[in-house]
Symmetry: C2
Subunit: 501 residues, 2 copies
Amino acid sequence: MELKEALDRLGQLEHTLYAYRYAMGVMSYDSETAAPELAAEGRGEALGTLSEVEYQLTAGPETGLLLEALEQHKEQLTTQQAAQLRVLKKQYDMYSKVPAAEVVEYTKLLNKSAVVWRKAKNENDFAAFAPYLEQLVETSKRFAGYFAPDKHPYDAWLDQYEPGMTRKELDGFFALLRSRIVPLLHRIQTEGQAPDISWLQQHWPREGQEKLSAKVMEIMGLTNGRCTLGETEHPFTTGFSRDDVRITTHYYDEDFTFSLFSVVHEGGHALYEMGVSPRLARTSLSGGASMGIHESQSRFYENLIGRSRAFAGVIWPVVRECFPAQTENVTEEQFWRTINRVEPSLIRTEADELTYCLHIMVRYELEKQLFDGTMQVKDLPAAWNRLMEEYLGVQVPDDTRGVLQDTHWSGGSFGYFPSYALGSAYGAQMMASMRKDLDVDALVAQGSLQPVTDWLGEKIHQYGEEHTPDWLLQNACGAAFDPAFYVKYLEEKYTMVYGLQ
Amino acid sequence: MELKEALDRLGQLEHTLYAYRYAMGVMSYDSETAAPELAAEGRGEALGTLSEVEYQLTAGPETGLLLEALEQHKEQLTTQQAAQLRVLKKQYDMYSKVPAAEVVEYTKLLNKSAVVWRKAKNENDFAAFAPYLEQLVETSKRFAGYFAPDKHPYDAWLDQYEPGMTRKELDGFFALLRSRIVPLLHRIQTEGQAPDISWLQQHWPREGQEKLSAKVMEIMGLTNGRCTLGETEHPFTTGFSRDDVRITTHYYDEDFTFSLFSVVHEGGHALYEMGVSPRLARTSLSGGASMGIHESQSRFYENLIGRSRAFAGVIWPVVRECFPAQTENVTEEQFWRTINRVEPSLIRTEADELTYCLHIMVRYELEKQLFDGTMQVKDLPAAWNRLMEEYLGVQVPDDTRGVLQDTHWSGGSFGYFPSYALGSAYGAQMMASMRKDLDVDALVAQGSLQPVTDWLGEKIHQYGEEHTPDWLLQNACGAAFDPAFYVKYLEEKYTMVYGLQ
């Protein structure tokens, strides 16, 4: 195939994939926001038909031939075209190298596992879920052997979520956290001055929370006609193009800060999606570079900006406007210390900024051992509980609030968790670099987030998935990933919040 | 092709069409409810790709061969299979018989016309829209010649929206309205006791309106996990299957009855969609039989039930609960007379139950003459204004509030308007028939709408698009369409509301 023909076909393939993914993405968003409960079956059938087409487009023989042809002209491809080839090839390998019959079996296993896990979690019955988890681990290991035979199976899955990431690098990352954050937590608990958070225990009317969301959207630059805010059980972001991004939140009457920081977090994801260059529109590169890089943007806004002392000065007056009665006797300082309190907890999704990464460390160590074969599924609950006590100092009372809490494993997502912690660490490193170019605190204190977003846009957002996480970090920070920035940031911040010596 | 193979392919085709229509339907619903403003372009591209596939499935040569094969086995088809063939064949003829190049030109014309019409309406500039309207009429006439060469072009388009409907039948229908409703309106205006509606001019908080909507959904049996209520600029209903129906409303601070009757109206559409038999799921027959039959169900609930004296007794206590302060000095009788006031107006979508059909009559007469060639586009405004004065007694001050008010013509929808009036008339005939089986007033007074919905379900809803409007009326009423029921209903009702002798 001539280069010109191959490029034409590549363009067509990307446009067609875009259309199917747009449709399935909107159907999925709709299912969480607007669809009636009993719509699931009919939607499932429609999704089945469309995803069959998407599968053919991604892993079919025609696509295989096209990718081979592009491979042969590799030297003549532009950076963007080469990146399109890389991303499409990775998907092709992933989907085409696993025997179709095994994919069918795996899909059935996933459907069943989701149901069994939910029941097991509700009934605190790990034994019921264990055989499914064993099969999920076994299948994931086998599949890794098909699509990345030269890699350790856990590295193969890490690479799916965080291109280039390995156990070796993560071992170093988590060893540093273990040696520095576990002791820091201990010091906070024994020597720290805990903030008074009793003021938070009030009723926070929905109307005020909605007003606050609208104001946050404005401050973050999300009111540009390209992003909307919806309401779902669990907040999330989904983006179909730079001009079509949806974020969601959830309002709890008893705590306005949940929705506040959900909007800031999802808003960070949204700014990334909206910042991808128009030249990557309708290609496989129009989304984020990796789970970790995406999470770096959301956590950058949520924690490094949103929970900063400077931002408290911007958002507290707005909070007071939205809830005048409830905030009458609370100071900005109290607010800031409240939103930065450290409380080791059982549940990852409720964790504070500091202990969050320790939750991830527990999961990483267990996943690695499961894939190494040094851990049996049946021994997971005891190991989980031991690590939770060791790192977070909490006693796990049951598996519902322990090893069964997260949906990820029942969905076959192994190697996904580390990206949450990586995101925070990437973000801290980017902040250190940004501070060389911008007086971040001064800007944030004025409520001027645009220069911050512009900096991230120039260094990260515009490239979408054109470059790897490594390249992006190098581009933004002039260096490879270095978790020392993250540890330093946490130590400095919490020394200040908790008045440590 | 053997019958068995043809039927297998028919099933596959219907399932595939279902998936694409589901996707495009959700994308369209999403565009009205949740999508950001600037998402339009990206959505348009995705819709373009998917509708190209839908077009091939509907009008492609493979489908042509399949329909031919089914045609040859016609005697062996079940009623349902024959109906599927009928509906698919009609779509096939419609789309495949118009030369592709002309379809492309027409699509461009529609896109341009929509923009030009909106501007012309805003600027009261009919002359700007006139050349586009001329082309739209000409193209519609030409297309009718392609897909229904044996019919008068206007009859061909009527048949698209209301299978079997003709100018001949509509002429009789509207002649009856002209001879009976125009004089009735005149009597109301000269002899009637107008209700005091001044109490309506208050602020109606959104919270109360939302509560009222929720209660109406409950009373109508729409809270079954198969229907949701959304919010849009203009209320509408869209259904993807009997288990997945969406209705929308719009809240106006200055008038709670708009949303109230929007929910009842759209709820009637929703009950129809939810009442289609499961055996028709994922076929071309799973929606309503025609525009007119669909409208008969929505207007049945909105007017024949919703604005009845009996229903006022059910809904007024709920209104009082939602707005205690605003309704303190208002009686149920006042409420009922207020929601049935007659006020000839300029705008169709704001018209009351009685004068609504006169708005339609104006449009019908003009469309017919445009298609006959007895009316030039340039003469439309004057003709419009003359008819509005003759039938409704109103002076049209400008084309914005006159001939330019509706979007339909700019979208190439000619022959669509009559279905609105037909719906009301069908509904009145069904009510007369229902009264022979049920004590409707007593049931409604108790708030028991289920037997009413069950009756409609048995006679109409369950059949989806399996049968024609004629067949359904015969099934429900034991007779062909007879507009006398509608006129009698309106005369009796408004004699009572306005205390005429």
